[in-house]
């Protein structure tokens, strides 16, 4: 009965407009409870509207912005920390016969650094240059050295990429700007090739390269790249569709041949797309572990840097700090390149909507 009475008392109050803006503080507290009022005040401070308080939009945005930054910074920490660990680990000292748990205390900085053990700060890097990659030792092929690894990597990633991007661009030019019979059919015929999984044709490629003697002189990693890649051609073609065809036609009327149009107009105009695709392919080739691992025999001095790292890590299981140093040296050039051209690369990725 009492409850019924109470409800009857409260009910008239319900008719008062209780929206946070128009009702007074007393009215709201009377209708809800002081506790709810307090909770509402705290929520409003953090930008959330409730029945008792209406949060200002500015505050809501501020709070959400701070939350966004906290989340993004936390994510950045997770994304960047392994790189920091790599750099710190490359200064750890494990000696020539160090223990396997040498990275024991390494969370921020190694507890046993190179300088504390009577060797220079860059001891691990020096070791790589002087004896780590030296041919004949550590399972390395004869005639190998650190500079050979870098040279191989440069050959594998510059020659096929530069030539390949140009051949891809020429194919893209042909598909986008020249009217010839069957060009769409040919294009889709080529595009269908990306459906073929690499591992499925790995063995045949291996046998082909083996019988052409491409495996022991590095040609297996150079020649296939020279013919260009269909994905690169696809993205450059998309870019060329954005260019007005009238440029090509005007040049044609002025008497320029297609070759001159390609060299004089298309290459400079499509340079952003070509550069972006070239840089991405360069990074892919620089990091290409699988190609060297499968195609190049371990006894050949044509193995690239990632492959040499694999050999070194397998032989040198105890003293692993130099392997981390080698990792840094393998990652660093690509990171520098990416930092220098990040706007171009990210812009191209956003435009093409591809992941690589």
């Amino acid at each position: 009965m009492e409850e019924m009475e109470n409800m009857q008392v409260v009910e008239p109050v319900e008719e008062v407009d209780l929206t946070p803006g128009s009702a007074s503080k007393e009215q709201i507290i009377k209708h809800y409870s002081p506790f709810r009022y307090g909770v509402g005040a705290v929520l409003a401070f953090f930008g959330f509207s409730s029945k008792t308080h209406r949060a200002s939009k500015k505050r809501a945005k501020l709070v959400m912005d701070i939350a966004t930054y906290v989340i993004l910074l936390f994510g950045t920490f997770i994304m960047v920390y392994p790189f920091w660990w790599m750099i710190a680990g490359s200064f750890a000292f494990t000696g020539q016969s160090g223990t396997t748990d040498m990275f024991n205390e390494l969370v921020w900085w190694p507890s046993s650094m190179t300088t504390q053990n009577g060797v220079g700060l860059f001891y691990n890097y020096q070791w790589l240059f002087t004896s780590g990659f030296k041919g004949g030792s550590n399972g390395m092929p004869k005639g190998y050295s650190y500079w050979r690894a870098i040279l191989n990597n440069l050959i594998y990633s510059i020659v096929p990429v530069v030539v390949g991007v140009i051949t891809s661009a020429s194919a893209a030019f042909s598909f986008a700007k020249i009217q010839w019979i069957g060009r769409n059919q040919v294009f889709f015929f080529l595009l269908a090739a990306i459906m073929v999984p690499g591992p499925s044709i790995m063995v045949t490629q291996y046998v082909m390269y083996d019988q052409m003697n491409w495996r022991t002189n590095g040609l297996a990693l150079i020649i296939p790249g020279l013919f260009g890649s269909i994905m690169t051609a696809f993205f450059i073609r998309q870019f060329l569709f954005g260019l007005p065809t009238s440029i090509v036609e005007a040049a044609k009327i002025d008497g320029a041949g297609y070759f001159r149009i390609f060299c004089g107009f298309i290459l400079p105009l499509a340079m952003p797309a070509i550069m972006a695709q070239g840089l991405l392919s360069f990074m892919g080739c620089w990091n290409n572990y699988m190609g060297s691992f499968i195609m190049v025999p371990q006894s050949s001095p044509w193995i690239n840097l990632p492959h040499a790292m694999y050999v070194l890590a397998n032989v040198n299981t105890e003293n692993q700090a130099p392997i981390i140093a080698a990792s840094v040296l393998c990652v660093l050039p690509v990171l520098i390149l990416f930092a220098a051209f990040q706007k171009l690369i990210i812009g191209s990725l956003m435009l093409t909507g591809s992941k690589e």
Binding site: Y69, I78, F175, V196, G228, M309, C330, V331
Partner: protein, 389 residues
Amino acid sequence: MEENATMSVAEDVASEAIVAPEAVAVAEEAVPQKKKRKPINQQKLQDNLWGWAFCLPLIIGTVWFVYAALIMAFLLSFTDYTVGNSVPLMEYLFTMGKHIATNMDTGARDAGYWYKFVFTHTVRNTFAEITYNEMGYHLFNTVFYMIGIPIGMILSMFFAVCMSRDIKGGNVFRVLYYLPCVASSISIIYTFRIMFKETGVINQMLGLATEDGGFRWIDQGATTAQTWGSLLGKDSTNEFMRNPYWCQGIFTKLVIIIMSVWKGLGGTIILYVAGLSGVNAATKEAAQIDGANGWQIFWKVTMPDLYPVIFYNIVTSVIGGMQIYAEPVLMQGESWLTSGYVSLIWRYGINGDLGQPYASLGTAYGMVLAVMIFVLTLFQFWLDSRNKD
């Protein structure tokens, strides 16, 4: 303006005609002789010739290194060819008829022998005391690694939404998150391998490192299984629990999933940020005016617009995920508990784990993989088409 342009073009043509009267004369002389034949449009001929010429390298490369290799792989899978075979590959394939039914080595192999081998090859593991189907286990591992795909998609969507907010420095975050994508995967794998050691930084942070070791994330020895065996109960009547050989792989797989998600996050984020920036702002605003909250707008307006991007991402991730090879092998070497399907191609087709590198067996494994990927992709497109109705 247009008139001017056409005028100038006309002038150009006229001036050229004036400059080279001899050429015109020569052309006129040549024309009457050819008139009896079908007249050829010189411009169109040029277009066709140059069109083919410009894409010839790409066509040659694709046909040679992809299509020819695929056809040869298909044919090889019915024969009995080894990598060191003295007969060159092309010659062997041209005389393939001889090699299909009769066999050089045992004489007992027919055309479908390697395919039967792929599906039925079993291996006895003495430690785990089981006989397992090799293809089944490697496929299970491959599919297990795909757990990372939805995790990565949800995480990257979350971060992409955060980055698409109107905040300062969104671009900087995008670059920083993309760093792992450009880094060499072998460096990343070695770094993670040491970070996840018994006394590594992860165990330190999680408090799992102890005096005599710590939690074994990556271990191919029997110790992990034994530890887990005592934990799960040695007296259990269930064979699966008493001898938990399967535990050996689980945590290594987990580390590989964490690493793949970490490495692939940036690329997907960029994909989603690009997609999010393309979402129709007017529709969003209309929904907002109609009283929809942020959550509703995200699910009802943003997600349908993003659907093509997400679908593309799923398709490419599944195709890539089926081909996982280097990560598990570099993390802990070839092992039936962690290696992906592709490592079978490498082991039997190139490395010669059966005594000889049977290229035919490798290509048979490859053909099965290609069919599986093709069917999976078709299945996804079928789901997609059903979704649209």
